[in-house]
């Protein structure tokens, strides 16, 4: 789907309307409180969904874990007990909720470590990958989108848009695999997978090494993602282009580039920034595929491995984490938007 449509949904419905507070409460506080409250309710709903959605996953995790290996019935029983699977569902739910509140997501079935530890361990690489990818994609998308919108219909617009949409249409995992074949093993320029080479010591060397490992996954991610930002920016520049205040700016005798930079871009950025924030949340779960293909030791590959078993606590917790990140990003977008757009501020 073209980014424009995603764009259509982006701006938070409530965000665009100035809200007035009840007497006594500062409107900003009210706005903030309302947003935070909504986010919390969403989070709660996500937690509940996560529990029930994955409870109905068919298959006995213990059986799956032990299949093909010699285990006694007693051992199976013991494992069930360990994981609390012998408890009645309401009890499990209560435990789950209590656990979630204390950030205790239970023990992973397959790793036998607290899921919270696993997540803590894996979140760094994911943030590194997703963060770098998003920053690059956003910059690229914004720059190209602005250019394309400003020169709508030009050869450059058509080429840039065409390339972006083509890359956007390519399945990310497929692109990743191709890159591995072409650039990693074919040309030997980059490592095929993982985040670091063993045996590299020293901060600089390690940074270099990680950077080297990051190139392909980040490139894949950027290639697939930037089109969205670009198309959003393009259409929002186009939207702004019709505005009379740009004619005013031009009538004032400003250079074309100044009109673009000082008037068109800041206005066009408003919807785009929100969308980038909204997308950030999705990107985190979007990296599942890329992490899987490049064996990036992040949350995505953890989720993938959890799903295979199925390792309920991992899958559940990550579902909450992924959805939570979308919620948090939505919240941030809601909070940032008024800072950017005076019309929303009350």
């Amino acid at each position: 789907m073209a980014a424009t449509e995603k764009a259509g949904t982006g701006r938070p419905a409530a965000g665009t309307r100035p809200r007035r507070g009840r007497p006594g409460l500062h409107p900003a506080v009210r706005y903030l409180g309302g947003r935070v409250l909504t986010a919390l309710v969403s989070l709660l709903a996500v937690m509940v969904t996560s529990f029930f959605l994955f409870r109905v996953l068919p298959g006995d995790p213990v059986a799956a874990l032990t299949q093909g290996r010699s285990v006694s019935v007693d051992q199976l029983e013991a494992m069930r007990r360990d994981f609390g699977l012998d408890q009645p569902l309401p009890q499990q739910f209560a435990d789950y909720c209590l656990g979630m509140l204390t950030l205790d997501f239970g023990m992973s079935y397959q790793y036998r470590v607290p899921v919270a530890d696993l997540i803590a361990e894996r979140i760094g690489p994911t943030l590194l990958l997703a963060g770098t990818g998003t920053v690059i994609a956003a910059i690229l998308g914004l720059v190209l989108g602005t250019r394309a919108g400003w020169r709508r219909g030009s050869l450059m617009d058509r080429v840039d848009t065409g390339v972006a949409l083509t890359l956007w249409s390519v399945p990310s995992f497929w692109l990743g695999l191709l890159l591995i074949v072409l650039l990693a093993s074919g040309a030997g320029l980059f490592p095929t997978s993982g985040m670091s080479s063993p045996g590299v010591e020293g901060a600089f060397a390690v940074a270099l090494d990680v950077g080297h490992h990051m190139v392909l996954p980040v490139a894949t991610m950027v290639a697939v993602v930037y089109a969205q930002y670009m198309m959003i920016m393009r259409s929002s520049v186009l939207d702004e282009m019709g505005s009379d205040y740009l004619t005013t700016a031009r009538a004032k005798g400003l250079r074309d580039s100044v009109v673009l930079r000082r008037h068109a871009v800041p206005n066009a950025l408003l919807p785009t920034v929100t969308l980038i924030f909204l997308n950030l949340g999705r990107v985190v779960s979007g990296v599942i595929l890329i992490e899987t293909v490049f064996a990036w030791p992040g949350l995505g590959s953890l989720f993938y491995s959890g799903l295979r078993v199925p390792d309920l606590p991992i899958v559940q917790a990550l579902f909450v984490v992924f959805a939570g990140s979308v919620i948090v990003m939505n919240l941030l977008a809601d909070l940032v938007y008024p800072l950017l757009d005076p019309r929303v501020r009350t």
Binding site: A2, V181, M241, V315
Partner: protein, 296 residues
Amino acid sequence: MSRAALAWTRRRRALAGYARAFAGNRGGMAGLAVLALIGLAALAAPLFIDADALSLTEAEGGRFQPPGPGYPLGTDAFGRSVLDLVVWGARISLTVGFLAAFVSVALGTLIGVVAGHFGGWPGNVLMRVTDWFAVLPALVMAVALAAVMTRSTLTIIIAIGVTAWPTTARVVRAQTLAVEARPFIERARALGGGHAHVMLRHVLPNVLPVVLAQTTLLVAEAILMEATLAFLGLGDPGTVSWGGIIQEARTAGAISSGIWWYMIPPGVAIAAVALSFTMCGRALEGVLNPRLRERR
């Protein structure tokens, strides 16, 4: 000429006008051409691909035969022609794409229109639900749904359809709100039209262009999602789809074995179809959405 016939002529002329506008969009036309080609190939596939070509036990080719005479795209592990598989795969991929897009668009349109029309608390509640669905990461959600339900094409369709609708609902609701703000809605109400009248006669026809464009764009997304689910091993193993072929190629280690002809064609097919749908969708949007059209 009767009025009905006249109306039909005029409608045809209007359609022709849209078609002309669409034809003016090179990207859209290219996309349409590719789609027509692939669609035709998919429809006609049973005519020139016999069952044996897809049978594991009857296939005549050698194992992983590189492209050559008789097998323009080589063969797979069972000696089946990859070209045949890809052509056949179009049937499933396109079906999944269309049906999933349809499910999600139908759901999204219904909810979007109702939420937009009624406003107030029912609309709010609907939008809350939508927002909340939109928050759930689509891929994770689809993966979970596909895992929960029995493995089949229908499952994939439902999983994609159910996760993609919030986008449509939001777009449609926004459009509905815009339409509802137009004076002709007030006129319809002043004429005595009820909710159903307003929604069916006024709102729906005016959101349909958006919905149509949205559907086209969603098909692209659904096809990609199908491939992704298949790649994650959640596809229907009994059918030949593009994502499924890639997954099989991957499990066979085709990439690292230099068996590019197993891996590349389905990926290219996915990209081509997704791109074509996207191009068509964008072109349609340009044609049907007067706001964009004005600017051209």
